[in-house]
């Protein structure tokens, strides 16, 4: 079992948990967190390189590094792991954000407990991305959700109890749907008389879910994951939750956890039930299309920085699900890139907001102004994050959005010309409009918060970023710019891997 490299994505956090429990003072805690997350980054980079090497050597299997160990025999539950390019991209993203998050919570109160929960959460995240067994996947999913309640409830700010409760309950509600869906898939995972399985690869190979069941199970799983992906109208946990969460938790949650939703929608809902995905995608297309513009419009009038960013996340994550539903290779590539891009960018945003909030003790943009004069470093980072968010070329947002638009426009036109309705086309155009609205709310915030005269003279004494804050932001900015400048690397990484899946989906066209 331990000869499989993927296991270490769970082992390292678990070891970190153990070490954290032994830590005596904050220095040791920081050391454990930093060394551990560096280890995770190293591991994921090694995995990336090794993976590319294997692919270059002509390994065409849909998942590499697969391994499977029986866990509960009667229900055929395994601890099954395996990765493709998408999972690797997500693992890389998660490890980077955990790293940046550790630095962003450098001076948190009650650090030991905080980091224990945070690392437990990331255990869940890593476990989720390496699993290919639906049951273990679900288990890790829950492991990632529960610590959120405590992290927000204890270390949060504002209406933290309400927000923590709301977030947890809504996500749990989503998991309820999800569980129904997963169990349904399990009971149809093999042809009559065959051995039932939770393993995604086997389920896809068997392709034995009856059509009628698909149209019931697809919405279940899609909504289940979609709640975490902040799909309209199940997004309201996101503004409140993010507004109350401490910095690192916001980062991790918006940066990685919301991606669990998109990843799950793709990997479970669409991967296993392509027919239903094809037939029912229109419902979710409408919902996600609405999310895209709706989140952006809502962000235009909010005055709380975290609310603005949370609504912006609704908009961007809506774009992820939207692109996935286009069932088009380019759009799906774009969706994965948007996940990466949004993860990094929004983590950067939340880190910066947390740092600004930590100094000014307010998040109302009406109570701040002229931050550029007071904390130039943070302000410049904020402008960069904003530019990434509104899709400036050279930063990650642009490539992701353009890939999505090109792909979904293609899907939309193909539908339209084939006489299959203009829904996709219309919603593609509507989603395109979001680039303008995004510009409006980003520039509104930048203008009010960073530029202009200093609003409050008390703010003049505030200091600029400390070294750990700089490290945290620089890490994220470098990644954002890296994706933005060299998109083709990620494009091929993602694109090469999910072709078989895509073809099985497109085969339905």
């Amino acid at each position: 079992m331990f000869e499989n490299i993927l296991i270490y994505f769970v082992v390292i956090p678990l070891v970190m948990l153990g070490l954290l429990a032994l830590c005596r003072d904050i220095k040791q805690i920081r050391a454990v967190a930093v060394v551990g997350s560096l280890g995770l980054i190293a591991l994921s980079v090694y995995l990336l390189v090794d993976y590319l090497g294997l692919r270059a050597a002509g390994n065409e299997a849909p998942m590499l590094y697969t391994g499977s160990w029986v866990w509960f025999e009667p229900l055929n539950i395994h601890l099954a792991v395996g990765v493709d390019g998408i999972s690797i991209a997500m693992l890389l993203l998660s490890s980077i954000i955990v790293f940046a998050g550790s630095f962003a919570s450098w001076e948190i109160k009650q650090p030991k407990e905080f980091f224990l929960w945070l690392i437990l959460l990331s255990t869940g995240v890593f476990g989720f991305f390496i699993s290919i067994d639906m049951f273990t996947m679900f288990m890790f999913y829950e492991v990632a959700l529960i610590p959120m309640y405590l992290l927000i409830g204890v270390w949060g700010s504002g209406r933290k109890n309400y927000s923590a409760m709301k977030l947890t309950l809504m996500l749990m509600g989503g998991s309820a749907f999800l569980m129904l869906g997963l169990i349904g898939i399990y009971y149809h995972s093999a042809p009559e008389g065959g051995q039932l399985t939770w393993n995604l690869l086997e389920i896809v190979d068997n392709a034995s879910i009856p059509h009628g069941w698909q149209s019931f199970l697809f919405p279940m799983t899609f909504v289940g994951f979609g709640v975490l992906g902040a799909m309209f109208p199940f997004h309201t946990w996101s503004p409140d939750g993010h507004a109350s969460a401490p910095t690192a938790v916001s980062m991790l949650h918006a940066g990685v956890l919301m991606k669990l939703g998109g990843y799950g929608c793709f990997r479970v809902a669409i991967y296993t039930m392509p027919q239903a995905a094809h037939e029912l995608s229109w419902i979710f297309l409408i919902l996600t299309g609405i999310s895209v513009v709706y989140g952006a419009f809502c962000a235009c009038v909010k005055t709380d920085l975290k609310y603005i960013n949370a609504y912006s996340s609704v908009s961007h994550c809506g774009l992820v699900l939207f692109a996935i539903l286009m069932l088009n290779e380019t759009a799906m590539t774009g969706a994965i890139m948007q996940m990466l891009s949004h993860g990094l960018m929004t983590a950067l945003f939340f880190a910066l907001i947390g740092m600004i909030y930590g100094r000014t003790h307010t998040r109302e943009i009406t109570e701040m102004g002229g931050m550029m004069q007071i904390m130039p470093y943070l302000s410049v980072c904020y402008v960069i994050a904003g530019m990434a968010s509104l899709g400036l070329p050279g930063l990650s947002g642009f490539v992701a959005e353009m890939t999505i638009f090109v792909g979904s426009f293609k899907a939309g036109m193909a539908d339209y010309l084939a006489g299959a309705g203009s829904l996709r086309l219309v919603f593609t155009l509507i989603a395109c409009c979001s680039i303008v609205i995004t510009a409006v709310y980003i520039l509104r915030v930048v203008g009010k918060l960073l530029f202009g005269p200093v609003h409050d003279d008390h703010h003049r004494q505030l200091t600029d970023a400390s070294w750990w804050e700089r490290l945290s932001t620089v890490t994220l900015i470098v990644c954002v710019a890296g994706i933005g400048c060299f998109p083709n690397f990620f494009n091929t990484l993602i694109n090469f891997t999910f072709k078989p899946a895509i073809f099985s989906v497109l085969g339905m066209n």
Binding site: M165, K166, L169, M170, F232, P233, H235, T236, W237, D240, Y294, F297, C298, C300, V301, K302, E329, T330, T333, G370, M372, Q373, M387, L390, G391, L392, P393, G394, F398, V399, M402, T403, F405, V406, G407, F409, K410, M413, L417, L429, C432, C433, I435, V436, A439, V440, L443, R444, G447, L450, F451, G452, P453, P487, N488, N491, T492, N495
Partner: protein, 669 residues
């Protein structure tokens, strides 16, 4: 041709941006400025050598035996691969117009770099705060603009198009503590962004049908035997033609898809080139430092729209209706901007509207270019005007900058009679005015005259309309000139220095640009740039009738301005009183800004955003909360059963037992 020089042309500004952006704070102001200027100077030399090489070396890659200029892709690197054949590449495209643009951009940019060394400091020679940042942004802008013009494909153009917009945003908002500058930069970005939405959709439509982003695939034919070399052709390649022409041409809502795509792409051009109704950002953009206005909002970025249409011109030729739309939009904008320019007080605003009007000239010129009229005179004229306009408008802006620097105000009412104090500025400004008014032998005369004759070939109505605009142009420019330099004696306030000419760093660019403005008209432009690569001898087609009429109009306009504004007199006030409504509307720019404010703030903000946010908080979130409340209520309802009263428990237990027992017993009996 080696690819080192082209790469350096792009890499040096980019490096300068990163270097000055990261390390600028650590170095002295002067060092940063000098480094930036030197960098730009190097780029200038490289770009000149590239352009010279392209135009005059006679290399078979650039010109064929028939003397036709060719298009050459110096390098093309895949940047992002969407599908097997749909790819965004970053490359370097050399053809007549891109070579010409390289010259224009590097010249103006270098002038502005040099000029800013003097401009961006106060009278005591203290550099402004953020001086290094200013040079970093200038470098970023130069990089983006150069990348835009050498784009090998439409998506590369879009990428740099966006970067140009962002650097323009940063530069307009350079004085970020000034709320008006912040809102102007925001406005500029959002308006152009809106236009870019059209551009993007246009690109998507075009690429969906043609399956390519490459300009060469869309507009030109490859030359046999030479790699990366293409014929500049009038008709688009067969592959593209076959998609869009014939009875099977795809239609959408009554118009052909190509028309839609081209009009949408033109919409992007309208945004960047400030065509009505997307022009509102440009006057406000004057909040930026004046050198920025000269670089971005007069000479380079604003002509990107013209360049875009010129780049895709073979496609536009396929769709007459798209060209008609361009002509109409251009003509209306030209007239509107000229009218408004007559009634502005802020000298930079006058110049801004003059810019809008002149760019509209170029657009009209492209719109009226047809193969049947003098081999597409309009295209060549448009490019020529782009070139000359860049020079003299930059000159005018830099001159205005010198005035503002000396006076400390944008308002001509604070100036008046400055000719004695600032002779260099005065003479160079006069040359600029003469050039834009179209007086022989200044450069504007030649280019404008060709535009007018192209219009005359196309339609008399357009010709008369544009001549009227030319007349207004001469009038408002000289109104401005007289109001700044004549009108009445300058009053030097006590305790202030008398205004004086500027340091050499500022004067030198003025003099160079003035010299260029004088002689640029004699450049055999048609030999270098034409729409199909064949040299075009415009002296052979020179229409003396049109030339003399336009010259007469310009002289009459100048005379009128002289009468009205040379000496202080009540005539202007009388005019104003005679046509109060017209003056008011012109002065308020026909209330476009107010209309936009109404739409964005009153309608979109108050009628869409706020209700949506309310809906989200109260309806959607309310529904979610009401689930929670419902659950709570239900639990409250059944909670009293667990009262903690042991007697109640016993009672319930007893009753239950009795019932069960009773039923059993009744059954047994």
């Amino acid at each position: 041709m080696s690819i080192t020089i082209p790469i350096l042309i792009l890499a040096i500004p980019l490096f300068m941006f990163i270097f000055l952006g990261l390390c600028g704070k650590k170095m002295s102001h002067l060092l940063a400025g000098t480094l930036g200027t030197l960098g730009m100077g190097t780029v200038l030399v490289l770009a000149y050598s590239t352009a010279f090489n392209y135009f005059f070396s006679g290399d078979p890659l650039f010109i064929n035996e028939a003397g036709e200029r060719l298009q050459y892709i110096v390098f093309n690197q895949t940047w992002l691969q969407f599908t097997e054949n749909l790819t965004i590449s970053l490359g370097f495209f050399l053809d007549p117009i891109s070579a010409m643009m390289l010259v224009v951009i590097t010249t103006i940019s270098f002038m502005v770099h040099l000029y800013s060394l003097g401009y961006m400091r106060d009278h005591h020679g203290v550099f402004e705060k953020g001086f290094q940042r200013f040079y970093a942004f200038l470098s970023l802008f130069s990089f983006s603009m150069l990348g835009l013009v050498v784009a090998t494909n439409i998506f590369q153009m879009y990428i740099f198009w966006e970067l140009v917009g962002a650097s323009s945003y940063l530069l307009i908002g350079f004085y970020y503590t000034k709320p008006s500058a912040v809102s102007a930069s925001k406005k500029a970005f959002i308006v152009t962004r809106f236009a870019d939405l059209g551009f993007l959709i246009g690109i998507l439509v075009l690429s969906y049908y043609t399956g390519t982003f490459n300009f060469t695939d869309l507009t030109s034919a490859p030359v046999a035997g030479l790699e990366n070399v293409y014929q500049v052709s009038l008709s688009t390649p067969e592959s593209v033609l076959s998609i869009f022409q014939g009875s099977a041409a795809p239609m959408f809502m009554g118009a052909s898809v190509l028309t839609w795509a081209l009009v949408l792409i033109f919409m992007g051009g309208m945004g960047k080139s400030a065509m009505m109704p997307l022009h509102i950002w440009l006057p406000d953009a004057m909040e930026g430092p004046t050198p920025v206005s000269a670089l971005i909002h007069a000479a380079t970025m604003v002509v990107a729209g013209v360049y875009l249409v010129a780049r895709l011109f073979p496609l536009y030729l396929m769709e007459n209706s798209a060209l008609v739309i361009i002509t109409v939009v251009g003509a209306l904008t030209a007239f509107y901007a000229a009218m408004v320019a007559c009634a502005q007080i802020d000298i930079k605003r006058v110049l801004a509207f003059s810019t809008i009007s002149q760019i509209a000239f170029m657009m009209v010129s492209l719109g009226v270019a047809r193969p049947e009229y003098h081999e597409g005179l309009g295209y060549m004229a448009s490019m020529f005007h782009l070139f000359t306009h860049a020079m003299f408008k930059a000159l005018l802006f830099l001159g205005a900058g010198a005035l503002i620097h000396a006076i400390g105000s944008n308002d001509y009412t604070a100036m008046h009679g400055l000719r004695k104090y600032m002779p260099i500025t005065h003479w160079t400004f006069l040359i600029g005015c003469l050039a834009i008014a179209g007086i022989i032998p200044f450069s504007g005369f030649f280019s404008k005259d060709e535009i007018l004759s192209a219009c005359g070939n196309y339609s008399t109505l357009v010709y008369i309309w544009m001549s009227l605009v030319a007349f207004l142009t001469a009038f408002y420019m000289f109104r401005l000139y007289y109001l700044i330099f004549w009108w009445k004696e300058h009053k030097v306030h006590e305790g202030h220095h008398a205004p004086h000419d500027q340091p050499w760093t500022m004067s030198l660019p003025l003099i160079i640009l003035a010299a260029v403005s004088v002689v640029a008209g004699f450049i055999p432009f048609g030999k270098l740039v034409s729409w199909n690569g064949e040299p075009y001898d415009f002296m052979a087609h020179f229409d003396w009738g049109v030339a003399s009429i336009s010259l007469i109009l310009a002289v009459v306009a100048i005379a009128l301005a002289t009468v009205m504004y040379r000496k202080e007199n009540p005539l202007p006030d009388k005019m104003q009183a005679a046509l109060p409504a017209l003056w008011k509307w012109c002065h308020h720019r026909f209330y476009w800004d107010e209309l936009y404010m109404f739409i964005t703030h009153k309608i979109i903000f108050n009628c869409i955003c706020r209700p949506l946010a309310w809906f989200d908080r109260h309806i959607i979130d309310g529904t979610m909360d009401s689930f929670a409340i419902l659950t709570n209520k239900a639990s409250e309802a059944i909670r009293p059963l667990q009262s903690g009263q042991v007697q109640m428990y016993v009672w319930i237990y007893a009753i239950g037992a009795i019932l069960l027992g009773g039923i059993t017993i009744l059954c047994l009996i």
